[in-house]
Amino acid sequence: MTIASFAADRFLYALRLVGALLVATLVPFLLDRRLRR
């Protein structure tokens, strides 16, 4: 149970990292595409 909970926590942390990096990458990229139209 403890191991499962630890793995779930780690997955959520990793998901948070992926989400933050995607937002930080895609927001300026998509704005750049719009500004170059």
Binding site: A7, R10, Y13, A14, A24, V27
Partner: protein
């Protein structure tokens, strides 16, 4: 540093407009993507030796240079990609505390502990990057509106992160 890294990518775009901003954005966050991969794989170490130490970032910069140069035959573009990867290390020394090499000291001003100071410093880097980047945009009737949208969005993201740090003092990275 968080969104401040985007400032480095935006400024780099001005140096070589032919390099895609997406490539520069991936380059600027390379050590953090490595951290994320390590976290997902269950191999994350809190010291960040494999992702943020000087040898690790030098390695990523060399890989970035080789990969970009091989794909595009543009050595200057490859050098720019490598420089942007290296910029991650220097910017992190301002706001974080990072490893140098195995057995070496950790260095950095650790502004993350002071979210307001962090926002000011990252805001300055973002603003400089956005102003430099603005010169790469096609001429328009209202160029300041365009750059204000970019600047506003990035500052809002940074503010969100710093407010989260104020509210939740000890957010584990992985």
């Amino acid at each position: 540093m968080y969104i401040g890294h985007v400032g480095a990518a935006l400024a780099a775009k001005r140096l070589r407009v032919s390099v895609s901003l997406l490539v520069l954005l991936v380059a600027t966050y390379t050590p953090d993507w490595v951290d994320t991969g390590l976290c997902l794989a269950g191999s994350y170490n809190t010291g960040e030796m494999l992702s943020h130490s000087i040898p690790a970032i030098l390695f990523f910069a060399v890989i970035g240079f080789i990969a970009y140069t091989l794909m595009t035959r543009d050595r200057l573009g490859g050098a720019l990609v490598a420089a942007v990867i290296l910029s991650h290390m220097f910017l992190d020394w301002i706001t974080g505390i990072k490893p140098t090499w195995p057995g070496g000291p950790t260095i950095g001003l650790q502004l993350y502990a002071h979210p307001i100071a962090d926002f000011i410093v990252e805001g300055v880097v973002i603003t400089i990057g956005a102003l430099v980047y603005a010169r790469t945009l096609p001429p328009r009737r209202r160029p300041w509106l365009d750059i204000s949208i970019m600047l506003g969005a990035l500052l809002a993201l940074q503010l969100t992160i710093d407010v989260a740090h104020l509210l939740f003092k000890s957010l584990p990275k992985c």
